[in-house]
């Protein structure tokens, strides 16, 4: 099985190359047989990569430590779950995962278009397989083959980094990769439209859903990463502006911009060049993200070991793709002229344009910050860096502007808004925002930026709620329906718009949580059993934690654990207990893992960290006097709003993604030939 998987990788490359060539040539020459062969190649590559992945997973499950990759990321006692996820634990395997997911989406793209959008398919397949082939080339020739063998098999592997032995860390990379790889499809469609010259109103309609799908996975991937950081890293933070974190944010920002500017193209036939640029930029940023993680170019805790071969290969790939895209757009420029103009500054088109400019501004500043060491070193010879202070202070006004736009957008009409109506519609929301700000101020909240954020959040939420109410009433009066039915039909007949508003609600919640972080508290104390530590929350609650002592069980794959138990009282009433741990994993005894205890409520999290046990060895021997330990207790404000907000974003995205009848065909894609094969045609 393992050897089969290895061979599958070698077979996949020539087939990928064949398919890419066949797709391009078949499209150019009108040879339907080549095109069909290219489509089959897509499925074949997917099948082969499944074999490769199965081979790697089998190697892990059967403890085949003669494979360098398995020896590095597994050991005998590793739980099965992590042996399976060993596939993406390291650089090499994660490249296979990327290739696998890319081929999955390529197959989905081919399959869903086997009886429609046929004129786009040949070049689309060509582009998809070109990208796939690139990753296969990297896997096979850039010294990152996951099947590389050692001279002889070690008795046991090195084991998996304890920080990765965690549920969130396991699903975070695949979710992110789903988002990244899915962007290849809209890029392929866009290139296909450019190459074939079919730049009318259709390619946008087709592409839109794929972009939303990618955006959805990427948003979730980012949130899972934040969840992992919060629960596992043990510092109480969830975003560190680390270069690799930032790199995953960049395509998400440009994709968000695209989701908005695409509506302008659909409604008014404008911004065609802009949108082409955005699709290309978003895709290039996904490649950039994986390049950054692998090349070691920028110092980061996330990066794999530095590998200059890979760095150069990826740079060359990005450069070539960027160059070709620019040339194609320039070539087709006459066909991409706008059909209309913006009539009025006071219009939704205008607001969406601002949205785009601001999001791209954010993208640029973050990119600048990430590359700053390279830029400064290149120009002055001395590398300078910027960190969280830079990113926070630069993105704060941008975030506030976006928040404000989320309120303005729904209220302002297309083409030309009536000014007086606009002002009238803002009155209540602004009043609500002002009341919230005043109320909070009177309650002791004096943090300027947080107040502005809370006020704007209230403003936006009011507007969205009012939108739903007005929309329901409008529909009820036009269609003569009862209000509940009107509401249901309102949302289901215009999923994109109302799904989008729901997404905005989620985003507002996340922004609000960010503002809440300004009020976090923490206290550090060393305790013996029986002693207490207190902390007061910003909401006036007093938490008293009493240290009960340490127990020292042994979890799976661990040498030992130290579990500290605290009983908790809130405002004098016992509310339960919290544990915090240090875990010593096999093979990683030098780096004990800190596991925090969190008591989560909507408005505040009680966060307990076991910072240090004075005499860990003694504690493991269960010596009574070795229980002294240092703890850090935090109260983190409104963190749950991030997870709930993320859930609402997911809900809104699913609504937006849900297919409605009659969007691209008259009925649901009914295969005309009634078979699984693409629609066949008579040879002309």
């Amino acid at each position: 099985m393992i050897l089969l998987g290895e061979l599958a990788l070698w077979i996949a490359l020539p087939i990928g190359i064949w398919g890419a060539v066949a797709g391009f040539v078949g499209g150019r020459k009108g040879r339907g047989d080549l095109v069909l062969s290219a489509e089959y190649s897509v499925y074949a590559v997917f099948f082969l990569l499944i074999l490769t992945s199965a081979g790697i997973i089998t190697a892990f499950l059967t403890d085949q430590f003669q494979y360098w990759y398995v020896a590095n990321y597994s050991n005998r006692e590793l739980p099965t779950f992590y042996k399976v996820s060993g596939l993406w634990a390291g650089q090499r395997g994660s490249l296979v995962l990327w290739a696998l997911l890319l081929s999955l989406f390529s197959s989905a793209a081919v399959f869903t278009n086997r009886t429609k959008n046929r004129e786009f398919v040949p070049y689309m397949v060509g582009v998809l397989l070109t990208v796939s082939s690139f990753f296969l080339v990297v896997l096979l020739f850039a010294d990152v083959n996951p099947f590389e063998r050692l001279p002889f098999a070690p008795a046991d592997g090195r084991g998996l980094n304890p920080q990765l032995q965690n549920y969130w860390m396991t699903i975070h990379p695949p979710t992110l990769y789903l988002g990244f790889t899915a962007f290849t499809v809209p890029f392929a469609f866009a290139m296909s439209a450019l190459l074939s010259g079919k730049l009318d109103a259709r390619w946008i309609v087709i592409t839109r859903r794929w972009i939303l799908l990618s955006w959805f996975f990427l948003a979730n991937g980012i949130i899972f990463g934040m969840r992992w950081a919060y629960e596992m890293l043990g510092w109480g933070g969830f975003w560190f502006w680390d270069p690799v974190e930032n790199a995953s944010l960049l395509p998400w920002l440009t994709a968000t911009a695209f989701l908005h500017s695409i509506q302008i193209q659909e409604n008014r036939g404008m911004l065609k060049v802009w949108n082409m640029g955005l699709v290309t930029l978003t895709f290039l940023l996904t490649i950039f993200a994986t390049f950054l993680t692998r090349s070691g170019l920028i110092e980061s805790v996330h990066t794999f070991a530095e590998n200059t071969t890979i760095a150069f290969i990826f740079l060359a790939f990005m450069g070539i793709l960027a160059g070709i895209s620019v040339l194609l757009i320039a070539w087709r420029y006459p066909m991409l002229k706008s059909e209309n103009q913006i009539h009025s500054f006071l219009s939704r088109e205008s607001a969406f344009l601002f949205n785009n400019l601001i999001l791209l501004g954010a993208t640029f500043t973050i990119l600048w910050g990430v590359l700053f060491p390279l830029i400064t070193e290149g120009i002055t010879g001395q590398a300078m860096t910027v960190g969280p202070p830079f990113f926070e202070r630069v993105n704060l006004p941008i975030g506030l502007a976006l928040l404000a736009l989320m309120g303005i957008g729904p209220v302002i009409a297309w083409r030309k808004a009536s000014r007086r109506n606009l002002i009238k519609n803002f009155t209540t929301p602004v009043a609500v925002g002002a009341v919230v700000v005043a109320g909070l101020y009177l309650r002791g909240v004096h943090h300027g930026m947080a107040l502005v954020t809370f006020g704007l959040s209230a403003f936006v939420m009011t507007i969205i709620i009012v939108e739903f109410v007005k929309g329901t009433k409008a529909r009820a009066s036009i269609e003569g329906e009862g209000h509940p039915l009107a509401f249901f039909h309102l949302v289901s007949r215009n999923r994109r718009r109302w799904g989008g508003y729901i997404v905005h609600v989620g985003v507002v919640m996340v922004f609000t949580a960010f503002a809440g972080a300004a009020f976090d508290r923490e206290v550090v104390q060393t305790l013996d059993p029986g002693e207490t530590v207190s902390i007061e929350s910003p909401f006036g609650h007093e938490y008293m934690l009493t240290y009960q002592g340490l127990s020292t069980p042994r979890g799976q794959n661990m040498v030992r654990q130290a579990v500290a138990l605290m009983t908790v009282e809130k405002d004098g009433r016992p509310i339960g207990s919290l544990t915090a741990e240090k875990q010593l994993f096999r093979m990683w005894e030098q780096s004990p893992l800190t596991v925090v205890g969190i008591r989560q409520t909507l408005m505040e999290d009680l966060y307990l960290i076991l910072e240090n046990v004075n005499d860990l060895g003694g504690a493991f021997e269960n010596e009574a006097q070795a229980q002294r330990a240092t703890f850090e207790v935090q109260v983190n404000v409104m963190v749950e709003w991030i997870w709930y907000g993320g859930f609402i974003v997911t809900l809104g995205s699913i609504i937006g993604l849900w297919p409605s009848r009659g969007s691209t065909t008259t009925t649901a894609s009914r295969p005309q030939t009634g078979g699984k094969r693409p629609a066949l045609a008579a040879r002309s």
């Binding site: 205008s350 400019l357 860096t385 910027v386 780096s591």
Partner: protein, 142 residues
């Protein structure tokens, strides 16, 4: 044309604001990114370099980590990756990352300022096990 003009005005406006934000952000928060060797050189030639915000990358000296009893204070020594004779002590009053230890080969990046008494006062410590991800064949086979 006039309407396109509005678009470019908007674009220019946003570009100006972004440039301003980046400019002030960078000048207020940027840090020198140095190796220990470079840090020592700078300090030698410019005494005011103490108290300048810097970020230094190096390696933790094996066996150099001590922790104060009952106080959140860590001390360890950072050694230059190239020139092992160049080193300096670090003080850190926060939680160290789990990947930090002084037995394995651990590469660190410390952020803070180099004090006149020759101790680096760190505000941020990032640690990456040098051999964390990729053990060589020799290391694997023991």
């Amino acid at each position: 044309m006039r309407d396109n003009g509005k678009f470019f005005v908007g674009l220019g406006g946003v570009a100006l604001v972004v440039t301003y934000l980046i400019w002030t952000g960078v000048s207020d928060t940027m840090l020198y990114y140095l190796t220990p060797v470079e840090l020592m050189a700078r300090v030698a030639e410019d005494p005011t370099f103490y108290d300048v915000g810097v970020k230094v990358s190096g390696r933790v000296e094996v066996g150099s980590w001590t922790r104060a009893e009952d106080e959140l204070l860590h001390q360890f020594t950072v050694v230059d990756l190239q020139d092992k004779s160049v080193r300096f002590p670090v003080e850190f009053r926060d939680m160290l990352p789990d990947t930090f230890n002084d037995t394995d080969i651990v590469d660190v990046v410390v952020e803070g300022r180099f004090r006149e008494d020759g101790v680096f006062e760190a505000t941020v410590v990032l640690a990456k096990c040098g051999s964390r991800y990729e053990a060589t064949a020799e290391e694997l086979l023991g």
